[in-house]
Amino acid sequence: MPHAPFIIASFVVTGVGISWLVIASYLAMRRAEASADELRQQP
């Protein structure tokens, strides 16, 4: 049984999972902090 497809699948799953988590967390943080700063500047 060739091992390469299994190795590639493992790294792809890990890469996609971590990338999704980092991008989603970063965007949510940027959006929330921008909204909080905007509200603070309002009189």
């Binding site: 091992h3 799953v13 890990t14 943080m29």
Partner: protein, 243 residues
């Protein structure tokens, strides 16, 4: 002394002064170490005599398992701090750990299953190690649902904290499962007493664990900053509604 240090960071503004510059450092160092360790592990380690090239899956499987278990340990510690000392950031940090912890537990289960097919001849067996790891993943889902439900009601998610502490019972079970029950999974290769893994795999594995851990730290900080910003927005909206 330890208590004074703990309460020093109870002030969100003080915490943010440290978290804001620390986040990009953890993130970029984590990405660099993780990518470096994976490239090193895949292209520059030898083929193992028994497992063949599938051994290279350990460079993503082992750090994910470590963070899945470490994440819940973090939730349990933060929950104790929240309930005993009422530290205002403890609940926020426990909730920030939950989604990254669940993701790494899922990655551990999927990559372990992918590794099992060519090595054991099956995708899944209901033995102690695999089943207790699956239970951990479901515990994460339960914790996320509980903490979301309680934060919607506006209370301090005490139920989620109690659930976080009780769920920690599963961590030693995962750790000891390969000793207590017959298992397809190999016994612990790295213990406090030493390692049975060859240096050629051990060094990139440690680099990979370090990289994944830094990434995990960056993720938790980002999610804590999000939660604190949302709390500031909610407080501001409430004040505006009062006028």
């Amino acid at each position: 002394m330890r208590r004074r240090l703990m309460h020093r960071f109870a002030n969100p503004a003080r915490f943010l002064r440290i978290a804001k510059p620390l986040t990009p450092w953890l993130l970029w160092l984590g990405i660099a170490l993780t990518l470096g360790a994976c490239l090193w592990g895949v292209f520059f380690t030898p083929t193992e005599r028994l497992m063949g090239d599938t051994v290279k899956i350990i460079f993503v499987h082992v750090p994910s398992a470590w963070l899945g278990m470490g994440g819940w340990t973090g939730i349990a510690i933060a929950s104790i701090v929240q309930l005993v000392w009422r530290h205002p950031l403890a609940g926020v940090s426990a909730r920030a750990i939950a989604v990254p912890g669940a993701t790494f537990a899922a990655i551990c289960l999927i990559t372990g299953s992918i590794w099992g097919r060519p090595t054991w001849g099956t995708w899944w067996v209901w033995d102690g190690r695999l089943t207790s790891m699956l239970v951990l993943f479901f515990l994460y889902l339960g914790y996320i649902a509980l903490s979301n439900a309680s934060s919607e009601k506006g209370d301090t998610s005490r139920v989620a904290a109690v659930f976080g502490i009780i769920g920690a019972v599963n961590i030693p079970i995962i750790n000891r499962s390969v000793i207590w029950w017959e298992s397809q999974h190999q016994k612990a290769s790295i213990t406090l007493g030493g390692s049975s893994i060859d240096q050629a795999y051990l060094v990139p594995l440690f680099v990979s664990v370090a990289g994944f851990s830094l990434l995990f730290g960056a993720l938790v900080l980002m999610r804590m900053r999000t939660a604190l910003a949302e709390m500031r927005i909610e407080a501001r909206m409430r004040r505006m509604a009062d006028y």
